[in-house]
Symmetry: none
Subunit: 78 residues, 5 copies
Amino acid sequence: MEGDIAQLGQFVGAGLAAIGSGAAAIGVGHVAGNFLAGALRNPSAAAGQTATLFIGIAFAEALGIFAFLVALLLMFAV
Amino acid sequence: MEGDIAQLGQFVGAGLAAIGSGAAAIGVGHVAGNFLAGALRNPSAAAGQTATLFIGIAFAEALGIFAFLVALLLMFAV
Amino acid sequence: MEGDIAQLGQFVGAGLAAIGSGAAAIGVGHVAGNFLAGALRNPSAAAGQTATLFIGIAFAEALGIFAFLVALLLMFAV
Amino acid sequence: MEGDIAQLGQFVGAGLAAIGSGAAAIGVGHVAGNFLAGALRNPSAAAGQTATLFIGIAFAEALGIFAFLVALLLMFAV
Amino acid sequence: MEGDIAQLGQFVGAGLAAIGSGAAAIGVGHVAGNFLAGALRNPSAAAGQTATLFIGIAFAEALGIFAFLVALLLMFAV
């Protein structure tokens, strides 16, 4: 058995961080899904809420991209 | 017991990252599922929300593809 | 105690990736389930949304097949 | 302490893959459950959506059977 | 410290596979629960959907039994 045990930690940690990236997609899906459910019930109001849709998606997506960033940092920068 | 312990970390990490890829499918399913539920209630409004459907799918799918990318990087690039 | 520790990582990683494959089925179930709920409420509109049903299933299924691909790569290609 | 450590990975990996097989049942249950909820509200439309029911079950079940396949491959083929 | 490390893997793997068996019960519960909710709203239609109820339970239960089979194979056959 050879190899650097700190590298083992980096790679397992990157994999765990990627789970966080995928889990954030559940939140993004919740925002976009509920916008669509409401917009199809009352289409004339949909245009006025598009800004809120993108704000909601952006905040949920940001957390997933932070997790992806942790995975990249663990693989290439640390 | 032989073998490189850093490779162990790469392969376990790739498997963990693939869980993130699968979890993102829950978000994609939420977007497409709510679009279908609304479009079948009010079919005449469905065409106007198709762009939002694909935007929502794209943002959720992106996070799953980031997790898949981490799995590929761990297996072949690191 | 003998054996290659990198192989241990490959087999445990393949098992973890298979969890991602199963988790994606939740998203696929959400798309098909909401289509059925809507189609049974308004059967005359169901034919017009069949294309969206298959698009939604395809995007969610793709993420599960990516996870299955990671499992196959870990078992046979890496 | 004796034994092949790669076999340890095969058996733990098979157990992990079986979690994916079980998780896919949540998706199958969502498809069949929503069909039943709709069919009992509007029984006359149920016959026309039976094909969609089996398509939805098949796509969700496939991902669970992929996970079960990974478990069998890990136990008997790798 | 004595004992075969491959046996450790068999027993841990069987325990993990039993999680999958339990997770499948969520899907079975969704099928039977939605049938009951609908049948109590519209009892006269329940008899016509009993076949669909058993088909849905069978597909979801199968994935849980696959996970249980993996646990049994790990304990007694491998």
